[in-house]
Amino acid sequence: MAAVKLLGAWVSPYNCRVICALKLKGIAYEYMEEDLLNKSPLLLQYNPVHKKIPVLVHGGRSICESAVILRYIDETWPENPLLPADPYERAVALFWIKFADDTTFPIAMMYLITGEEQKKAAKECSEMLETIEEHGLVEGKKFFGGDEINMVDIAFCSVAHWLGVIEEVTGLKAFEPHKFPKLNSWILNFKSVPVIKESLPDIETMLAFFKGRREMVLASKSS
């Protein structure tokens, strides 16, 4: 089997998605941490269009965009499938993965904003959580994938793990367990899956990182 490399950044939820998928499939890979403030020539070569991580390199060829990478992994290593087999169920799963792509990206960036912009982002975040609670999660189902996690669960890792950290760092409040009971159960279930626990970055390290970044943002805004 050709070598698998992952260019990533530990703090990125998109990177985490790929790590979750690789670990769930038991795929061996070499991890290369990118300094996002000083992008390597390798990253620029492998992802000239977006210049972003994660990038999966398999047999020397690069695959970019985490949602595309997840499907590539699922199709190349078909054991332990991460999507339903039925075309309709699959379409529903893909819908929610796209929803996660389109609406959850602000979460990890919310430390950058303050004031009115932050209020607006918090509102959008709440709306996003409401939509998932109302339309995406089914009462009684442990995961988006049913009894086992699947690609949809992985796609929402930023909601499960980054949101709480960002809320603590910014003082913003979007998620309340009593307001989002299904989502709350899902988060607890998701984070107790052993492979996921292994793949999520350490909370204390994340808090330190985002607090540091937050301080820099606030300092630059007051100067």
């Binding site: 060829r61 695959i63 970019c64 949602a67 590539y72």
Partner: protein, 237 residues
Amino acid sequence: MASGEVKVLGTWASQFAMRPRIALNIKSVDYEFIEEKNLLEEKSQLLLQSNPVHKKVPVLFHGDNKPICESLIILQYIDETWSSGPPILPSDPYDRATARFWAAYLDDKWYPAVKSLGIAEGDEAKKTAMAQVEEGVALMEEAFGNCSKGKGFFGGDEIGYLDIAFGSFLGWLRVVEKFNGAKLIDEAKTPGLADWAERLCSHAAVKDVMPDADKLAEFAMIVVAKIRGLGLAAHSL
């Protein structure tokens, strides 16, 4: 596999609604086209019920299944459901990843630039938006060279996922060219795409669903005026 009637909810002008129609034509699947009459100002109950999250077209109805939303996802559903027909996605996982990457690029990066250009006011704004649109077209010219591997379509000998994803924008691209006195796809700058566009637009699966350029231009003027009048952002399109 679900069986039963197939319906597509969309509008004649929507590039996104065109996509499932092309795919169903490729698969020789009969379908009913339900036209959404006033997408910008008054969405139908059917649309609001069948796509409560996004309230956008297209929506695919197939037999007893609940509605399926998001045009690219619908393409994949059509490909998997009518798997005995001509394939829409390539068979190799890397080629599939490439097709999906470019389709996502078009929808998430390039098309917002096209919309910005459409409602831009003032020379500076237009210039910036135009540069982004042109950059995207240049990338697609290169992608065409890589994906087609000397054949007529992104999908090779036959129309595929990326042909549908990009081809659905051709009508609007011609409108943008007309309104801005620019040439985005032409023999000189993008020879590969120029030939491809002609080939695609005359393809049996495409020609009846590609909107007439003049009709689209007229419609575009109304839409832009409404967007500006209503003070809406480009993303509401």
